[in-house]
């Protein structure tokens, strides 16, 4: 029997709130976290809205105030989300055999905000003005690095950079490592803080972002005919994965089991997904085969659902191709309608939303789905949350670059 892998702790920082409880409350109520950008002056920007994490994201004081200036925002989010997950898990740290405990955290762009500010100073003052903390604040692998220092985990430790799929890929790879016996437990997930002036202007240059500035809460509209691009957001989702044996031995609370992971690459285009959704289809298929599960068994799909025409139609096609008739009975939702798109954190946050849907027997809604795109004709749980027992859930993440990842979870009673 291969090692079984379970989730025993979860933590969230998103525009819906800091902490799992505030996230769930907003999801269930169908409340958007999107608002005007406050992190920089948007006067000259086509897009002036985002899903920002607001000031009080560390209400429990997990990071000493003095340490904040030494950490980029993506690192702060990871530390706060991990603190919630680790407290939730009840795991004693540092562990007795630290080399059996690893960390894999995804981030699409690492400390981009620090680079922007640092480069301004560099242009003004030259090399002498460069701050000594730039490198540790910028590199993506300092998220897992900082977590290892904090929790004393000395096993495999790396960052995973895969754009919008980073968080899901990190969880998938962590799952494989535990299943293959290389580690007993791994802190994993994703973190991102790219609501920055340069990042927003770059995504604007690609015409990827919604410009519905006058109505921010209505801007993120996955599967809706009137969508006009995705809404950029920031945050982190961190979970503790453990082998079932390790979790059971210490009497841990189990949120669910990771039973399948699929990963593919489109080999198609730098920013567009394959319109036929072949890569997405194959990632879901691989995840379900890995889980030894027929598509019809899935109760809930947390879709990638970005609210771009290219994604929503492609993803719907891929689901239909794989699920056949069952595509019409599975509950789907695009929670980015509420959170916006957290890039490298999105897949991890949405994996946690799947676990919560299983725990609560509630499917979070796709808000703003007022007029479905005729090509998007599945049950996306429009406007309001729905009650449904979720035994099996699947989450999709697809990236610029053509990377696709799907994860399958099982509820354990």
């Amino acid at each position: 029997m291969p090692t079984r892998v379970v989730v025993t702790g979860i933590g969230l920082v998103t525009c819906l709130g800091s902490g799992v409880a505030s996230n769930w409350e907003a999801l269930e109520a169908g409340r958007s976290g999107i608002g005007p950008i406050t992190l920089f002056d948007t006067t000259r920007f086509a897009t002036r809205i985002a899903g920002e994490v607001h000031g009080s994201f560390d209400p429990q004081g997990f990071i000493p105030e003095k340490e904040l200036r030494r950490l980029d925002r993506f690192q702060q989010f990871a530390l706060v989300a991990a603190a919630e997950a680790m407290k939730d898990s009840g795991l004693e740290c540092p562990p007795a055999n630290p080399f059996r405990y690893g960390i894999v955290v995804g981030s699409g762009m690492g400390g981009l905000g620090t680079i922007e500010i640092g480069l301004d100073v560099f242009r003004m003052k030259g090399p002498k003005g460069t701050h000594p903390l730039m490198i540790p604040k910028v590199v993506a692998n300092l998220a897992p690095g900082l977590l290892s220092i904090k929790y004393g985990f000395k096993g495999p430790n790396f960052a995973l950079v895969n754009a919008c799929t980073s968080g899901a890929s990190a969880i998938g790879e962590a799952f494989l490592m535990i299943r293959s016996g290389r580690a007993d437990a791994i802190i994993t997930g994703g973190t991102e803080a790219v609501v920055t002036e340069f990042s927003v202007s770059c995504f604007n240059a690609l015409r990827a972002l919604s410009t519905r500035n006058g109505d921010p809460e209505k801007a993120s509209r996955p599967f809706d005919k009137d969508r006009d691009g995705f809404v950029i957001a920031e945050g982190a989702g961190i979970m503790l994965l453990e082998s079932l044996e390790h979790a059971t031995k210490r009497g841990a609370r189990i949120y669910g089991e990771v039973i399948g992971y699929g990963a593919t690459g489109d080999a198609y285009h730098v920013v567009m997904p394959d319109p036929e959704g072949e890569g997405a289809y194959q990632a879901m298929k691989m995840a379900l085969e890995d889980a030894h599960l027929a598509p019809g068994k899935i109760d809930y799909i947390n879709a990638h659902g970005t609210g771009t025409e290219l994604n929503d139609v492609m993803e719907t096609r891929a689901i239909k191709k794989l699920f056949g008739k069952a595509a019409y009975s599975v509950s789907i939702s695009g929670t980015k309608s509420m959170t916006g798109h957290m890039i490298g954190a999105a897949g991890a946050v949405e994996a946690i939303y799947c676990l919560l849907a299983m725990a609560k027997s509630v499917i979070p809604p796709t808000i703003n789905l007022d007029n479905p795109d005729p090509e998007c004709d599945l049950n996306y749980t429009p406007l309001q949350a729905a009650r449904r027992k979720v035994e099996y859930a699947l989450t999709n993440s697809f990236a610029f670059g053509g990377q696709n990842a799907s994860l399958v979870f099982r509820r354990l009673d």
Partner: protein, 81 residues
């Protein structure tokens, strides 16, 4: 403490996460007493240079041990300019 020493204490306290400002005295040795490591030192130099508008060379740093040494260095640099 004079004004320069007070400002130096403020900046050192900002850098050293585990040290309370009340425990920093003019005679405190920055490495031995306050536990600063190399990255802390570089961070302090950057803050001091910004605050006092001067340049602290690596060879100057070698001669500095205490909080008072830092303040005296700043005063000397100011007098020379």
């Amino acid at each position: 403490m004079d004004e320069v020493e007070k400002k130096v204490v403020d900046l050192i306290a900002e850098v050293l996460v585990d040290v309370n400002k009340e425990n920093i005295e003019p005679g405190s040795k920055i490495v031995e007493d306050l536990g600063a490591e190399s990255l802390d030192i570089y961070d302090m130099i950057a803050l001091l240079e910004d605050e006092f508008g001067l340049e602290i060379k690596d060879e100057d740093v070698e001669k500095i041990q205490t909080v008072r040494d830092v303040a005296n260095f700043i005063k000397a640099a100011r007098a020379a300019s």
